[in-house]
C-alpha cells in the first residue's frame, strides 16, 4: 500500500507536470516504483518523452522500461495501436525476452482474443513456473470473463506456492465475499491480519464478515474487532462505530431468552452512538435526524 507521504509526493509531481513545470520522468519513475495505476497521465507524458528522440536518447537503457510502462498504460486507455508499436520496438530489441512475451499476452487480452492470451500465458508459465505476474494475469483474465470458479482455483493454486503474498489473499477474500462464501473470506482476512496486524482496514473487513455470518459467538468476536478498528483509527472510522451499535443490538436480540449480559464493555454502545452523533453534527448536519431515528430503533 502507498503511504501518505508517498501519495502526496506523487500528487505534487503530477500537479507540477500538469502545469508545465517539467519533471515528467521523475513522475513516471515514482509511479512505477509505487505501482500506482494512472494510465492517462502515464500515457501522455510517456509518449511525449518517447516521441522526442533527443530526450529518448538521454534516457539511455531506461527507455526500454519506459516503453513497457507506456505500453501498459496504452492498453489501459484502449489505445491499442500505441501499445502495438511499443511492443514491436521492444520485440526488435529483446527478441527472446519473457518480459516482452508477457506484454504480448497482455495485448492479446486487451484486444479480446482471450483464448490465445490463455495459450500464451500457459506456454510462458511452462518455461518459468515461478513468474508471479503471469499467474496473477491469468486469475485476472478468468475473473474478467466472469469465470469466478476458475479464478478461485487459479488463485488458490498460486497461494499454495506463494503464500506470503498478501495482495493475493486480499483479492481472494473479496472474491469470496462477492460469492457469499463468508467462512472462507473470514479465513483470508485472518491471514491478512496476521501479516499486517496494524492495518485497520483488515480488522474492519473481518468484523464485517463475522457480523454477516451471524451467531452469537461471531457477533461477540465482530464487536471486538470493530473496537480494535476504532482503537487503531483513533475513533474516526464511522463504519466501525455503526458496526458496534449494530453488533450490540443484534447480540441483545439473540440473547433475549438467556440472561447473558455483555459484561466486558457496557458503555461501548452508548459511547459509539454519541461519537456518531458528534461526527454527523460536524460533517453532515442534515442527515442527523436520520441517524437519531436509526439509533433509537436499534436500542429496542
Amino acid at each position: 500500500m502507498v503511504s501518505k507521504t508517498e501519495e502526496s509526493q506523487l500528487n505534487r509531481l503530477e500537479n507540477q507536470v500538469d502545469n508545465g513545470g517539467g519533471g515528467a520522468w521523475e513522475y513516471l519513475c515514482l509511479a512505477r516504483k509505487l505501482k500506482v495505476r494512472r494510465p492517462e497521465k502515464a500515457l501522455k507524458y510517456g509518449l511525449s518523452i518517447l516521441n522526442d528522440s533527443k530526450k529518448r536518447y538521454a534516457l539511455g537503457p531506461e527507455q526500454w522500461t519506459l516503453y513497457e510502462q507506456v505500453a501498459i498504460a496504452a492498453m489501459d486507455c484502449q489505445c491499442l495501436d500505441v501499445a502495438k508499436d511499443c511492443i514491436k520496438v521492444l520485440q526488435k530489441k529483446f527478441p527472446e525476452s519473457k518480459r516482452v512475451g508477457r506484454l504480448e499476452g497482455m495485448l492479446l487480452e486487451a484486444t479480446g482474443s482471450r483464448a490465445e492470451a490463455e495459450k500464451a500465458y500457459s506456454s510462458l508459465l511452462e518455461d518459468n513456473p515461478l513468474d508471479q505476474v503471469i499467474h496473477k494475469r491469468r486469475v485476472a483474465m478468468a475473473k474478467a470473463q466472469g469465470n469466478i470458479s476458475a479464478a478461485i482455483e487459479w488463485l488458490n493454486k498460486y497461494l499454495e506456492i506463494f503464500m506470503a503474498d498478501h495482495d493475493a489473499w486480499r483479492e481472494l477474500a473479496e472474491i469470496y465475499v462477492s460469492l457469499q462464501m463468508y467462512k472462507q473470506a473470514a479465513f483470508c482476512y485472518e491471514e491478512l491480519i496476521l501479516s499486517q496486524p496494524t492495518v485497520p482496514l483488515y480488522h474492519l473487513a473481518y468484523a464485517d464478515v463475522l457480523y454477516t455470518l451471524g451467531e452469537l459467538e461471531n457477533l461477540q468476536i465482530a464487536k471486538k474487532y470493530y473496537a480494535s478498528t476504532i482503537d487503531l483509527t483513533g475513533g474516526k472510522n464511522t463504519r466501525a462505530l455503526l458496526g458496534i451499535c449494530l453488533c450490540t443490538s443484534a447480540m441483545r436480540q439473540l440473547s433475549k431468552g438467556r440472561n447473558k449480559e455483555d459484561k466486558e464493555s457496557p458503555e461501548l454502545q452508548s459511547l459509539a452512538a454519541k461519537a456518531l452523533e458528534k461526527d454527523y453534527e460536524q460533517i453532515a448536519d442534515d442527515k442527523l435526524g436520520l441517524l437519531t431515528c436509526a439509533l433509537r430503533s436499534l436500542k429496542i
Binding site: P129, M163, A164, L194, S228, D231, G234, E264, L271, K274
Partner: protein, 246 residues
C-alpha cells in the same frame, strides 16, 4: 628501542599509495567481471515455496494474539501436523540438503566461480606484494604492540630488534584487504562481489538452511502461547471514544 626510525617519504609515495590504488582497481575489475559471469539462476520451486512457508509461519507467530484462539489453533495444527504439516521435516531428509547442494552441478559451478573470482586476485596480489615490496619497513603503526605480532607483521624484516610497531608492506596489504570493503560499498553500491570476509563466513554456514529453519519455525510455533489481545482492545476503544466524546 625507544628511538624513532625516520622513514623515507619515498616509501609513502611509491609503496603505500600505489598499493592501495592497485587494490581498489582490482576490486572494481572483479566487480565487473563477476557481473559478466553471473549466470541466471532459475529458482527452484520447492525452495521458493519453503521460503514463503517460513514467512507465513513467522507472521503467524508474530501476530498470533490478533486472531481468535480457534483460528490460531487450527493454523498451528496445519503447520506442525505430524503427517502432512507444512513445517514438518522427517529426519531422513534433513541431512540430505547439504549432499544435494554439492551434487547439484549448477550450484557447484556457481560456487566454484564465486570462489575463483575471490581467490585468484587475492593470491596474485599477495604474490606481487611479496615479490616487489618485501625486505623493508613500510609504515609505523601508531599504537604499541606486543612481541607476539612480530612474526605476523614484520615478515620481510629480519632484524629482531626493530620495534614491532614498524611493519612491512604485507601488513599494509592485509589492512587494505579488510578495510576497503567500506570504500567499495560507497563506490559500487550495495551489491558488490568484493565482500570477501562475508563470503568466507557464509561458506562455513552453508547448506543446512532450508530444513533447519523449517524445524526452528516449527519449534517456535509449538512454544507460542496464544493470548488473545482483542478483549483489551474493547477497553481501549472505550477510552478513545470517551476522550473523543467528552
Amino acid at each position: 628501542m625507544a628511538e624513532d626510525l625516520v622513514l623515507d617519504t619515498a616509501i609513502r609515495d611509491w609503496v603505500l599509495i600505489p598499493l592501495s590504488v592497485v587494490m581498489v582497481l582490482i576490486g572494481i575489475l572483479r566487480y565487473f567481471v563477476s557481473k559478466l559471469m553471473r549466470s541466471f539462476q532459475v529458482p527452484d520451486p520447492k525452495i521458493v515455496k519453503e521460503g514463503q512457508v517460513i514467512v507465513r509461519a513467522r507472521n503467524l507467530r508474530a501476530a498470533a494474539n490478533f486472531i481468535p484462539p480457534k483460528s490460531f489453533r487450527s493454523r498451528r495444527v496445519y503447520f506442525s501436523n505430524e503427517e502432512n504439516g507444512l513445517l514438518f521435516v522427517p529426519k531422513g531428509q534433513a541431512q540430505n540438503a547439504q549432499a544435494q547442494m554439492f551434487s547439484d552441478p549448477n550450484m557447484a559451478m556457481d560456487m566454484m566461480k564465486k570462489n575463483l573470482s575471490m581467490i585468484i586476485p587475492q593470491t596474485l596480489t599477495f604474490a606481487w606484494v611479496n615479490f616487489f615490496f618485501s625486505g623493508f619497513v613500510a609504515a609505523k603503526i601508531p599504537f604499541p604492540l606486543t612481541q607476539r605480532f612480530r612474526s605476523m607483521l614484520q615478515n620481510g624484516i629480519d632484524l629482531s630488534t626493530v620495534d614491532v610497531s614498524y611493519v612491512s608492506s604485507r601488513s599494509w596489504y592485509f589492512l587494505n584487504l579488510f578495510g576497503l570493503r567500506g570504500l567499495f560499498s560507497l563506490i559500487l553500491g550495495e551489491e558488490n562481489a568484493t565482500d570477501d570476509t562475508q563470503r568466507m563466513m557464509q561458506m562455513s554456514g552453508f547448506g543446512f538452511d532450508p530444513s533447519k529453519s523449517l524445524g526452528a519455525e516449527k519449534d517456535g510455533l509449538d512454544i507460542v502461547q496464544h493470548e488473545w489481545a482483542l478483549p483489551k482492545f474493547e477497553h481501549r476503544a472505550e477510552a478513545v471514544l470517551k476522550k473523543l466524546v467528552s
